[in-house]
């Protein structure tokens, strides 16, 4: 059955083909973002210098930005600059876009990680209970996930602040950033306050950071959580009908153990393929939710960039999101290939 040499080379070929496809997609995506942001009406130089600048100043900025070069050369420079992390300078205040994004990244990363955790744990629990118990619970789960998929995250954020935040029940802090103002951020290790707080042995910082995180993370988790709930419920319903589940039961394994060990396991594997979609929804969500909570992340940087007509910021952010999407999908494919025995390359 196993022919290691031929299957390994076949897998290598498959891997190389997939990698070429990914590169092609990324290149095309960069073309798309270049076309959208450079070749359409609207002059970046004019935006930088403002409407009152003299033609000389305008021409100077144009040369400086390379806007007089032929388009293909501009594209190559654009590509080089993006790849070497030189994402230009803010049109509005001249700040280094790369530095701004790097400084703000940990806040968004922490938010997105917790939201991801909420979404995955919530979806696995709800979908598993719904497909194991069935009946009314399954109906409720279906309705909740359908409603969840339709929610405007920024509105949910607003409602959560109104109900649970400082102006409502007061259970959780309102839109006041990452920490209560009198607390010092923990010593910088990962940049994630919850993790750093634990590492530094400051439980108060940890719990305060978590309390500040809770509402934005829930708002952010809603759409990916609802999406994963639907996906996992459908997958588990499919797997539960498979004859091997009856065989497992015939060994004397209880229904719950069979569901957990076999149905859930088989249902989780294909859901890895939607990693890119989940990431995209977290990126989009951070743009919409951060400004509601005054969360100092990159989503807020983007919104401020948009309001100031700051193309340099928007350009970097948009292409970055596409790169991350493609990277997440590629990584998920690789993980599936490692985890699923049917795709695994025989190493023996």
């Amino acid at each position: 059955m196993s022919r290691p040499t031929s299957s390994t080379s076949a897998a290598l070929k498959r891997g190389a083909g997939a990698l070429l496809g990914v590169l092609a997609t990324l290149l095309l995506a960069s073309v798309v973002s270049f076309v959208v942001l450079r070749a359409v009406p609207g002059d970046p130089a004019r935006l930088i210098v403002g409407p009152l600048a003299t033609p000389d100043v305008l021409a100077g900025v144009r040369t400086q930005l390379g806007l007089d070069d032929p388009l293909w050369l501009q594209y190559l420079h654009y590509l080089r600059d993006f790849a070497t992390l030189q994402w230009g300078y803010s049109y509005s205040n001249g700040a280094d876009v790369t530095a701004v994004i790097a400084a703000r990244l940990p806040a968004t990363l922490e938010l997105a990680l917790w939201a991801f955790l909420f979404a995955v744990v919530g979806a696995v629990v709800v979908a598993t209970l719904a497909s194991y118990r069935g009946g009314a619970l399954a109906g409720v789960a279906k309705v909740v996930s359908l409603v969840g998929l339709g929610t405007p995250q920024f509105w949910v954020a607003l409602v959560l602040v109104l109900v649970l935040g400082s102006s409502g029940l007061g259970v959780l802090p309102g839109p006041s950033g990452r920490l209560t103002s009198f607390l010092e951020p923990p010593p910088h290790v990962t940049g994630l306050y919850t993790v750093d707080g634990l590492l530094a042995g400051q439980p108060i910082v940890f719990s305060d950071a978590l309390a500040h995180l809770a509402l934005p993370a829930i708002s952010l988790a809603l759409i990916p959580g609802a999406f994963l709930t639907r996906l996992l419920t459908a997958n588990q319903a499919d797997v539960a009908r498979a004859p091997f589940v009856t065989v497992v039961r015939s060994k004397g394994v209880s229904r719950w153990a069979a569901h957990r060990r076999h149905v859930l396991h088989n249902a989780l594997l294909p859901s890895l393929a939607s990693a890119g979609l989940v990431l995209a929804s977290l990126i989009t969500g951070s743009v919409l939710v951060e400004s509601v909570f005054n969360w100092p992340g990159i989503g807020q940087v983007l919104v401020q960039g948009v309001q100031r007509q700051d193309f340099a910021v928007v350009q970097a952010f948009v292409l970055l999101s596409a790169v991350l999407y493609v990277a997440a999908n590629t990584a998920a494919d690789a993980v599936v290939a490692l985890v699923d025995p049917r795709l695994r390359v025989s190493t023996r």
């Binding site: 798309v32 998929l149 405007p152 948009v306």
Partner: protein, 291 residues
């Protein structure tokens, strides 16, 4: 089957209510922008069902006008985007293989961008406003339609009825319009419905960030942004009602999209049951099989 029909019924009821609200909105356009500082920030009551905002405008009138804006722009973008997507799908499905390969790569590249961000970039490039935002959203909708319909169109080309049409020498555009497009029916209708929801969400998101409809316009996303400023001082109604309308719209459309395949399948089953041909005697076949 009955569950999905009930679901379709609930969706249709919700949508009917929203259409009524949108029609009411057409008559309230003046009230929606009438500034009246004297009656600013009134809580919901008999005079103003949904209260008034910071400039004394009636929130109910604004939500109603917002409904007509959302429904009109949602349907328009999906119709244009879906039409263009269908066209690309037919070119991919029935055209030469190399063209299909190139187009698919390009579609994948466009789809690598999260919809909201791509729409945002396009909108910014062409200048802020509701119309440019609609253009930006169309750009994100086209590849979604093209990609899903292309797969179906490719499948259609291997079906006997298309092969037969080819054999008797019908032209490719004729086959596309008369044979492949009807084959795409269910997928197309599901995509149309499902995308209206997404489009309305993305549009309101754009306005919320500030690149879509601009403040005096009673667009839901823009209204939520305004509501945000009053939320912490207790005037919750300014932001909550438009969001509720937005949520109900998207949920209704998604419920409808979700129930379409089952309802269509049930209808098709009823139709075939009525016109069922007599089947060959199953017993003879069974007896042989049993042996």
């Amino acid at each position: 089957m009955t569950a999905s029909r009930a679901q379709a019924g609930v969706a249709a009821g919700l949508l009917a209510a929203l259409v009524v609200l949108a029609v009411v909105g057409l008559f309230l356009q003046d009230a929606a922008v009438k500034v009246d500082v004297a009656s600013a920030l009134q809580a919901p009551g008999a005079a103003h069902w949904f209260g008034t905002d910071a400039q004394g405008r009636d929130v109910f009138a604004r939500v109603a006008v917002g409904t007509s804006i959302a429904l009109a722009s949602g349907i328009a973008t999906v119709a244009v985007g879906g039409g263009l997507g269908l066209l690309i799908a037919l070119v991919c499905g029935l055209g030469p293989r190399w063209l299909d390969a190139v187009l698919v790569r390009l579609l994948d590249a466009v789809m690598a961008f999260p919809a909201l961000l791509l729409a945002l970039a396009v909108t910014m490039a062409f200048g802020t406003g509701l119309l440019t935002a609609l253009l930006g959203v169309v750009v994100t909708v086209v590849p979604v339609f093209a990609r899903t319909l292309r797969a179906e169109a490719r499948r259609a080309t291997s079906e006997p009825f298309v092969q037969a049409a080819r054999t008797i020498g019908l032209s490719t555009p004729h086959i596309a319009v008369r044979h492949v497009v009807p084959y795409l029916g269910t997928t197309l209708s599901v995509q149309l419905a499902a995308n209206v929801g997404n489009v309305v969400l993305v549009l309101s998101g754009l306005s919320f960030i500030g690149v879509g409809a601009q403040p005096p316009t009673p667009e839901w996303g823009a209204m939520i942004t305004e509501g945000l400023q009053n939320a912490l001082t207790g005037q919750w109604w300014i932001g909550v009602f438009p969001g509720l309308a937005l949520l109900l719209t998207v949920v209704a459309v998604n419920l409808l999209a979700d129930s379409i395949p089952a309802v269509r399948a049930a209808r098709r089953a009823r139709r075939t049951r009525r016109s069922r041909r007599p089947r060959p005697n199953p017993v003879a076949a069974a007896a042989v099989k049993e042996a």
